[in-house]
């Protein structure tokens, strides 16, 4: 498209914006976030290798009301999941008669900042584990309990509780452990692969079109630092692999299974893309 056409388009966009009363050329807001007195880093210098300067929390792309709900932990419905997680933490389950607290005691101390550094390499299984899989491993190996099925409400609650112990902590994963680097490589390849009948990659929407509107949705960088997330849309908690699957479904592709190698590789890579952003769990999105 030539320059003049582009200028004409921009002018038109402004006209449309004034007609519909909606800011069509919206950028991320210039606003800062504190939750319960904790400073949340919503903009951080991008790790080397990304084609932009700053990584941005999805919070910056949401409407004022949604942002305010996240900023106020009394108003944030996601905090109910965190409270439910605290109950589960202290509940005895399984054949060994133990609760999480039996071994890990006070999560505020033992789980502080832990979630900010997941996924982590697990030598025993030769794979990266995310928090959900780490919980399941403790349930099976250390409690004699059944692993949670994907998106069991208790899995969402306990994951939210553990991630919430990192509120404010910058995301940073260790790619030097085990085979983490090759999982990162695979995740990167998936991120740039176009899928489905609509022929779109993660990067098409979250790198090439960040800040634009796709229908009513203001496109963010698709960062993972707020997961599990409370969504107004579904009035409930949404796990990261559920979100990944939803985005892939929207390209009209087959969805990989939750916790499959593909989605774990994607989680490793996309988590890295948000290096330096604070954990916001439970974030609030529309």
């Amino acid at each position: 498209m030539n320059r003049r056409l582009f200028a004409a388009h921009s002018a038109l966009l402004l006209i449309v914006a004034s007609i519909t009363g909606k800011a069509v050329l919206a950028d991320p807001v210039d606003d800062s976030l504190q939750i319960d007195g904790t400073e949340i880093i919503t903009r951080a210098p991008a790790p080397e290798g990304l084609p932009f300067d700053q990584v941005l929390s999805g919070w910056l792309f949401r409407e004022a009301e949604t942002r305010a709900t996240e900023a106020d932990s009394f108003a944030n419905p996601g905090m109910l999941a965190v409270e439910r997680g605290a109950e589960i933490w202290n509940t005895v389950e399984g054949t060994m008669g133990k609760s999480c607290a039996s071994c890990h005691q006070d999560a505020a101390k033992t789980m502080k900042d832990v979630g900010a550094h997941y996924p982590k390499w697990d030598a025993a299984s030769g794979k990266p584990l995310n928090v959900e899989l780490r919980i399941n491993k403790c349930r099976v190996d250390n409690m004699g309990a059944e692993p949670y099925k994907f998106d069991d409400p208790n899995q969402l609650a306990l994951t939210s509780y553990i991630k919430h112990q990192s509120l404010g902590t910058p995301v940073g994963i260790d790619l030097s452990q085990g085979q983490m680097q090759s999982w990162w490589d695979r995740g990167k390849e998936l991120y740039y692969t176009r899928t489905g009948q609509l022929n779109l990659a993660c990067a098409s929407c979250h790198e090439g079109a960040t800040g634009k509107y796709i229908r009513a949705d203001h496109l963010s960088q698709g960062q993972v630092n707020g997961f599990p997330t409370y969504r107004f849309n579904t009035a409930g908690m949404v796990s990261l692999h559920n979100r990944f699957r939803g985005c892939i479904r929207d390209t009209r592709a087959e969805m990989p299974a939750a916790f499959s190698d593909e989605l774990m590789a994607l989680e490793v890579y996309v988590t890295w893309r948000g290096t330096g952003l604070s954990v916001e769990t439970p974030s609030v999105r529309q």
Partner: protein
Amino acid sequence: MKRALAATIVAALMSAGAARSEDAPPQDVKIADMAVKASLTGTPGSPEEGAKTLANRSLGNCLACHAVQALSDEQFHGNVGPPLDGVADRWSVEQLRAIVVDSKQALNDESMMPGFYTLNVGKNVRKNLVGKTILTAQQVEDVVAYLATLKE
């Protein structure tokens, strides 16, 4: 009620359904000089139907990425692509057909716009959509007929 439902289903099957024998199959549609010269169906497109297809979220869903002032009754126009107002002043009908058929061939190979009548698609296409195009040949002709009315 039952009959009305059946009629709706038949209509839906007909519009979303199998390509009619006189339609050009997607693999035979050639884009040359940024244009597709011949109609895909030989039946003139209907601008009214085209406007509906363009707005319909499960068909064209063009408004996901484009604003169209003439359709301001429809909610939520995206801005991933340029507004389509005046698009017929910028492109000929043959060029508009090529853009809708496969913008990656017509405009640029990095285009984010889906190809609406091509089998050159992404990986792992949902099983029930393998070998199918997003729009039927006639729906493409209808959309092109509507785009041709967008003059300023």
